[in-house]
Amino acid sequence: METMQFDVLTISGAVLLIATFGIVATRGFMDWLNAYRYQSIVLSGVTAIIGYVTGIWEIYIAAGLTLVIKSIIIPKVLTYVTRKLEIEFKLETNPYVSIRASVIISALLVALSYFLIQQIPFKSDQIVNAYLPVSMAQFFIGLFVLVNRRTVLSQVVGLLIIENGLFLFAMALTHGVSLLIEVGIFVDILVGILISSILLFRISRTFDSLDVGKLENLRDD
């Protein structure tokens, strides 16, 4: 039983990482959204597993919220606001680091997060061992996507990955901060995504591009 549980934990963590790599390795916005949706469904499953292992019922609610908000509402909203955007805006054609190199860097980031987590004195705990490095890796890869890609859309996706990482981090380490706060965090994300989609639309109209490189009117010189 013990080992089977361990396997479930490890495999679900690995699946999360694969979904994250799915975002790193693709160029199109719709691919990112699909990978994100897939990642969120797995995340919700992982949350439910944490709920099962720890036996705290509130975690199941968080899992349900994750499923509804992250795998249904957010992708729907983003698909809806970007439907009018021209197709060329939705493709990452020119990242700062090539896709191939990005995958390698992401792999290094995963290794780095496993290394870092080992340095920190945590109480030994199956869940912490299995998911904490994964959450850190998601956080780092999200940051990497955010700075590496040039389209505004991929910055949104980067934020979403970071946020998933954070959620898993809080879940794995403390088995959920209280439900009230989690709802607050969910509302913050949702509103943040809504605002960023309004901004996305305005940027595409005003600048006639979604290239972050075009956003450099404001300078000190």
């Binding site: 109480k123 956080f139 403390t174 607050g184 965090i185 605002i195 960023s196 309004i198 009117n217 404001l218």
Partner: protein
């Protein structure tokens, strides 16, 4: 019975902005919603003044179980939020009216502006009184979202760019703060199993049993996170954009109090970390960031061409000074830092209001195009001059006193290198800022301009702030002195006054 009263106190404090936002949404008439917002802001101001006088005598108030906790430190922040909120509401009426008249905004935007303004005040009122650090994080993130909405009110390219950068950088920054918060929470649930492991009071209480390594990592995350929001260099890059592109009253709030609110988060965790592993670790980090911030601010002000961006960098400098004071420690340095929080909240909005009026008159933000303010608009010119002199720390105005306290505590605590560097940077800032300022205020206007102010409601808020700046330079009311003293003892004495 007592707790019922404090519950009601908190409830009534938070009620006006909620009701105000609702009324703005329903009524929609340009004149009325301006007045409603002034009413909500003044209601908040009156209640905060009452609350603060209560805090001076009773030191702490808790409400709704342990969800809200108000002590002298929160009271200082509440005070700055309410005063700046009030003057900004006054100033908004005139400013947004003019923006409406010249066609920059339409009816829909005015309604959105006042809704945002009320909600913005609400979120900033919750930050300092939330005992639960998770709630504090959620409301700090909410301030980001609301202020992004307020910045993107204008459809200009620059405003959109500023809003985008602000949203992304602040959100990513705050995600670090959330990790830090979760680390502290984890340290606390490992140390004990009490109910309020997420509450600040609970953390301070059990801080001695925290794992020291965990606390160090956690504090670094907190410092990066809330430091981003507080505009500490090198995470300050969003700040000059956002502060210069927002509508002027919003710039004043962003600069004058939102930075304070974010810094308040750092202070709270600094207290926990000090109670756990002693103040050396966090103080050292605060001093390093402070010196970097003040240095970068000096360099950026030196090369600055835009009036509002210059003011924004001056905010980076002031946040650096606050961080320096807290880092140097000792009752004197911390007292100076808290006083600096208060002084900054008076001087910076004054400067932003003045620059907003100048901007509307000259229709320019580039300093090279602004000359002879004192001839075109004499009253605003004088207020701008006094505000500027106060900002760079010229005696006898208020900022001088707090800067002096911070720097002398630096020598006292033996931080000679940091203090001398900061003095060097401050001298540079002083000279350059004054040169920019005097060039704008004196001289002849570049083109023929009609003499005249921007209206009474633009002058009154500035006059209020200016009189505060002058008065606080000479003497500080006894009640406020007690309050600041209590707040300093909270920081230096491990959490409780």
């Amino acid at each position: 019975m007592d707790s019922l009263i404090s519950n009601l106190t908190i409830l009534f404090l938070l009620l006006p902005p909620i009701v105000g936002a609702g009324l703005v949404t329903v009524l929609k008439k340009k004149r009325t919603i301006g007045i409603i917002t002034i009413c909500t802001a003044s209601l908040i101001l009156v209640q905060v003044l009452l609350l603060v006088s209560k805090i001076v005598s009773e030191k702490t108030i808790t409400a709704f179980g342990n969800t809200f906790y108000v002590d002298s430190l929160s009271a200082v922040i509440l005070l700055s939020v309410s005063v700046v909120g009030f003057v900004a509401a006054l100033y908004s009426k005139n400013y947004m009216g003019r923006q409406y008249d010249n066609g920059t905004v339409d009816d829909k935007h005015i309604v959105r502006y006042y809704q945002g303004f009320n909600v913005f005040l609400l979120t900033m009122l919750v930050v300092p009184i939330a005992n639960n650090l998770g709630i504090m994080w959620v409301t700090v993130e909410a301030t980001t979202l609301v202020s992004v909405l307020l910045i993107m009110l204008y459809f200009k390219e620059n405003a959109i760019e500023a809003a985008w950068k602000y949203l992304i950088i602040a959100t990513v920054g705050l995600s670090f703060a959330l990790i830090g918060t979760v680390f502290f929470y984890y340290a606390n649930i490992n140390a004990n199993t009490s109910e309020d492991a997420m509450n600040w009071t609970g953390m301070v209480h059990d801080a001695k049993h925290f794992d020291p390594n965990l606390v160090k990592i956690a504090f670094v995350f907190i410092l990066v996170g809330f430091g981003t929001k507080a505009g500490l260099a090198p995470m300050h890059t969003w700040l000059p954009d956002a502060h210069s592109e927002a509508p002027t009253p919003v710039s004043a709030i962003l600069s004058g109090v939102l930075l304070n609110c974010a810094f308040y988060g750092i202070i709270r965790f600094h207290i926990v970390s000090s109670a756990s592993i002693g103040p050396e670790f966090s103080s050292q980090l605060l001093i390093i960031l402070a010196v970097v911030s003040i240095g970068i601010a000096a360099a950026s002000i030196y090369f600055q061409k835009d009036m509002k961006r210059m003011l924004a960098y001056s905010s980076v400098e002031h946040m650096g000074l606050i961080s320096l004071g807290i880092g140097f420690g000792g009752l004197f340095g911390i007292y100076g830092a808290i006083l600096q929080i208060v002084n900054h909240a008076m001087a910076k909005p004054l400067m932003f209001f003045a620059s907003g009026s100048v901007n509307q008159k000259y229709e320019a933000k580039a300093m090279s195009k602004i000359k002879g303010i004192i001839r075109v608009m004499p009253v605003t010119g004088i207020l701008f001059l006094i505000g500027g002199l106060a900002l760079v720390g010229m005696p006898p105005f208020n900022v001088f006193l707090s800067e002096f306290m911070i720097l002398s505590s630096g020598f006292k605590s033996g931080q000679f290198i940091a203090t001398s560097l900061v003095i060097l940077f401050l001298v540079i800032t002083f000279a350059v800022f004054l040169r920019h300022l005097l060039k704008m205020i004196f001289g002849n206007p570049l083109s023929e301009m009609k003499k005249g102010e921007m209206g009474k409601l633009a002058i009154i808020p500035m006059a209020i702030l200016c009189s505060l700046v002058v008065i606080f330079g000479i003497f500080i009311p006894a009640q406020l002195q007690t309050l600041i003293h209590n707040a300093s003892t909270i920081i230096s004495g491990g959490g409780f006054a």
